[in-house]
Symmetry: C2
Subunit: 244 residues, 2 copies
């Protein structure tokens, strides 16, 4: 792991994973689920419910990646995943209106505390965009809620494919007329960074030890070699020479 300077790397754009890297999906989904379902009389282990829903994430996207179903926005994948776990939590009889609203919980997630300031600093020196599996409308909502000053919304919906498919990373670089080597993928997940690196992008790992809750499997350090290793987004800004 080498901390080269951004000038040496000739990086022009930073691409951000969103769920887990920029926003706390576990805390937000648990909070939104409780706010919607507790008034209806449901008593659940809310963080466990969030974990279970997120636990279906790869399965749901794999249906698209394998070609079993056509590309569909992550909102729709989230809904299919939600329906899959309802019986497990005794939610089979929950009203459709509440479930439809619950599915929008992913638009109401809060950023980790370092993110807004860190992105603001990074934007002074680089183009910044999400390269997430989230759909455009979902990411627009998260950006508005949390003050993320993105230059554009890139990622899965533009590519009609889900990470770690190469076309997601490559279409984002192409949209900005940049070679992959001028793009830096920023994520708290080593598998995302490995896929980006395989496409020729530069990589930065962000530690998110609390992504899956205290004592959970949130990555404290990368499991692969990356160009940068940062404690959080503000730390990344410092390492890239972007001052706040």
């Amino acid at each position: 792991m080498s901390d080269a300077t951004p000038l040496n790397l000739n990086v022009k754009a930073l691409f951000f994973d969103v769920f887990g890297t920029l926003v706390d999906w576990r805390g937000g989904v648990a909070r939104e689920a409780e706010a919607l379902l507790a008034p209806l009389g449901y008593r659940l282990d809310w963080p466990a419910f969030a974990d279970a829903w997120r636990g279906e994430y790869q399965t749901g996207m794999e249906e698209v990646r394998s070609g079993r179903i056509a590309f569909a926005k992550l909102d729709l994948i989230h809904r299919r995943n939600l329906d899959r776990i309802l019986p497990r939590f005794g939610l089979g009889g929950a009203p459709e209106a509440a479930l439809g609203e619950l599915n929008l919980a992913w638009r109401r997630l809060d950023a980790w505390p370092d993110v807004a300031a860190g992105l603001g600093a990074l934007r002074e020196a680089f183009l910044i965009a999400p390269v997430s599996n989230g759909n455009i409308s979902l990411l627009v909502a998260l950006a508005r809620r949390n003050g993320f000053p993105f230059d554009a919304i890139l990622g899965a919906e533009i590519a009609c494919a889900y990470k770690p498919a190469p076309e997601v990373y490559l279409s984002a670089a192409a949209a900005l007329d940049l070679p992959p080597s001028a793009c830096l993928m920023v994520a708290a997940h080593s598998d995302d960074l490995a896929a980006a690196a395989a496409c020729g992008l530069r990589t930065a790992h962000i530690a998110r030890p609390l992504e899956f809750g205290p004592g959970g499997k949130g990555e404290r350090a990368p499991e692969i070699q990356t160009d940068f290793v940062a404690a959080d987004i503000s730390d990344l800004a410092r390492r890239l020479g972007a001052t706040e």
Copy 2:
């Protein structure tokens, strides 16, 4: 032409044409062309050169719309159009490096003076995005240069089609999960607005009498019925009840 209130219209998102409506392409292209070519000894009628280049705009895009060539970014269309007019201006021998740089003039255009403040006000009440024939990288550059606080970059490159093709307007609405009737197309060109209205979008006309220079064919008023008629973007913000 009725000035209904935005609440009555239930408008959630505003889509903006860019060239002519938000930025002064004629003045900017003339300025950039002179800055690049005058030092090489060329003496041209710079505004006439800008007019001629823009004059090839529809021809260039029609090659895509007709299916004669595959969808290509507007940058490439601009370059084909530039090559087409070079002999007319005695530029056949201009160095390739200068022409490549000149083609980026479209990323260095200045906004009309009302735009940045108007968009800032509108963003308080609506989602805002360009729905332009410009490619993503070009629009990101214009947004950065002029401080346009767009939520996302929508338009031709997302749709892989050029306005006035219906899929450009419809794909923009779909990206935000909105019905066309919840989207308001804002443009200084009646043909753009007519195409948007045919897709079910609401429409707002912006007067840009100077788009083609003093005494030129810039539209002072819409040639079709529109939902809103505004003198500029700040005036539109006032009409929609968005305060600056």
